[in-house]
Symmetry: C2
Subunit: 219 residues, 2 copies
Amino acid sequence: MDAATEARVPQKLTDKGRATRARILEHAAELIYAKGVHATNNEVLRRAAGVSGSQLNHYFPTKESLVLAVIEWQAERVLTFHRSERFTQFDSLDSLREWAGFYIAYERSYQEGCTLGSLASEIIKTDLDVRTELANAFEQWRDIFRDGLERMQRLGRISTEADPTQLAYLLLSAFQGGMLLAQVARDIAPLKDALRAAIDHVQTFAMPAAVGVLDPFRH
Amino acid sequence: MDAATEARVPQKLTDKGRATRARILEHAAELIYAKGVHATNNEVLRRAAGVSGSQLNHYFPTKESLVLAVIEWQAERVLTFHRSERFTQFDSLDSLREWAGFYIAYERSYQEGCTLGSLASEIIKTDLDVRTELANAFEQWRDIFRDGLERMQRLGRISTEADPTQLAYLLLSAFQGGMLLAQVARDIAPLKDALRAAIDHVQTFAMPAAVGVLDPFRH
DNA sequence: ATGGTTGTGGGCTGTCAAGCCCAATTTGGG
DNA sequence: CCCAAATTGGGCTTGACAGCCCACAACCAT
C-alpha cells in the first residue's frame, strides 16, 4: 500500500513535483471534507489544484490511491493536532475540556463532521480497500486518549479503578457519534452534550485530592 | 416530500401493487445496508426484488425517492424496536443494559454498522435532499432515551440533577460512534466499551435506594 | 550547449448507471 | 362479457466519470 502512495514521493520526485503532489493532496482533502468523495471528481480537483488531468494519473494512478493518500494525510493531521502541546498529552481533565471546547467552537463540526470519521463512513462500504488504514488511524487516536488516562492514573488524578481503554473508546465514540448527530441536525448541541457527558464520566473517577481543584467546573 | 413517496401508496395502489412496492423497498433497504447506497443500482435491485426496470421508475421515480423511502422504513423499524416491550420504555438501568447487550451480540453491528447511521453518513454530503428526514428520525430516537431517563427520575431511580437531554445524546452518540469504530476495526470491542461506559455514567446518577438493587451489575 | 529525463497539458474513449418510453398483460368495475 | 385503468416487461438513450495516451515544455547533468 505504502509502495503505491508514499514510497514514490521522497525518491523519484523533485521539489517541484513534490509541491505539485502536495497541492493536489491538500485540495483533494479539502474537497473531500467539504463535498464528499463522490463529488470530488477528476475535473473539480483539477480546477481546484490548478493542474491538468494527466497529473492526477501521474501522482495518483487511481482514485483509490488518492483517497488512501487523503486518509493518511488527514490521519496525520488529526493525530498531530491531538499530540500538540495544547492538550499536554491529555494528562488532566482540563485538557479534555479544552479539547471538547475546540470542536464545539469549530464551525465546521456541524457542517462537515469529523475529517476522518466522515470520510470513513462514506467509503467503508465501497470496494475501495482502505479499511486497514482507517483502523490503524483510529487505533492511534484511541491510544492518545488511553495513554493520557493512564498518565492521569499514575499522577493520582483519577482512580486506578477506571478502565482507560473503555474510557478512551467512550471519548472517541462520543466524539464521532456527536459529530454525526450534529452534522445531521445542523446543530452543535448533540456534540456538545455528548462530549460534556463523556468527560463528566471521566471526572467521576477523579481522586478526592483532585476533585477539590476541578469541582468548580462540574455543572 | 411525503407526497412523492407516501401519499401515493395508500390511495392509488392495489394490494398487489403495494406488495410489489414493499418488496422493492425491503430488498433496497437490505442491499443498501449491506453494500451501501452507491452499490445498490438499478439492475442489482431489480434482480434481488424480482421486478423489472420500469417498476422502479414507477414506484420510485428517482433514486432520491427510493433512498428517502428506505430512510423512512429504517427509521420506522429502529424506532419501533426501541419502543418495543422488551425495553419497557427505558425506565430502568437494566433496560439500558439489555439494549446494549442486544447490539453487542448482533453480528452485523461490526460488519454493517447502524442501519440508520451508516446510511446517514454515506449520503449526508451528497446532493440528495434527505437531511431533514434523518434529523427527524434521530430526534425521535433521542426522545425515546430522554423520555426514559425522565421517567427514571420521576420513579426516583436516578437523581433529578441528571440532565436527561445530555445523557440521551451521550447514549445515542456512544452508540453511533461505537458502531462506526466497530465497523472500521471489524471488532465489537469499541462499541461494547463505549456503551458500557455510557451506561455506567447514567448509573452514577442512580439514587441510593435504587443502587442497592442495581449495584450487583456494576463491574 | 545538448540530449535525455522528468514534468505538464489537454483531449479521448470505454464503462456504467439513471431515467425514460412503448408495447403487452392483468385487474376490476359496470 | 367488455372496457378502461393499472400494472408489468424489457430495451434504449443520455450523461458523467475514471483511466489513458500523445505531444510539448522544462530541467539538469555531462
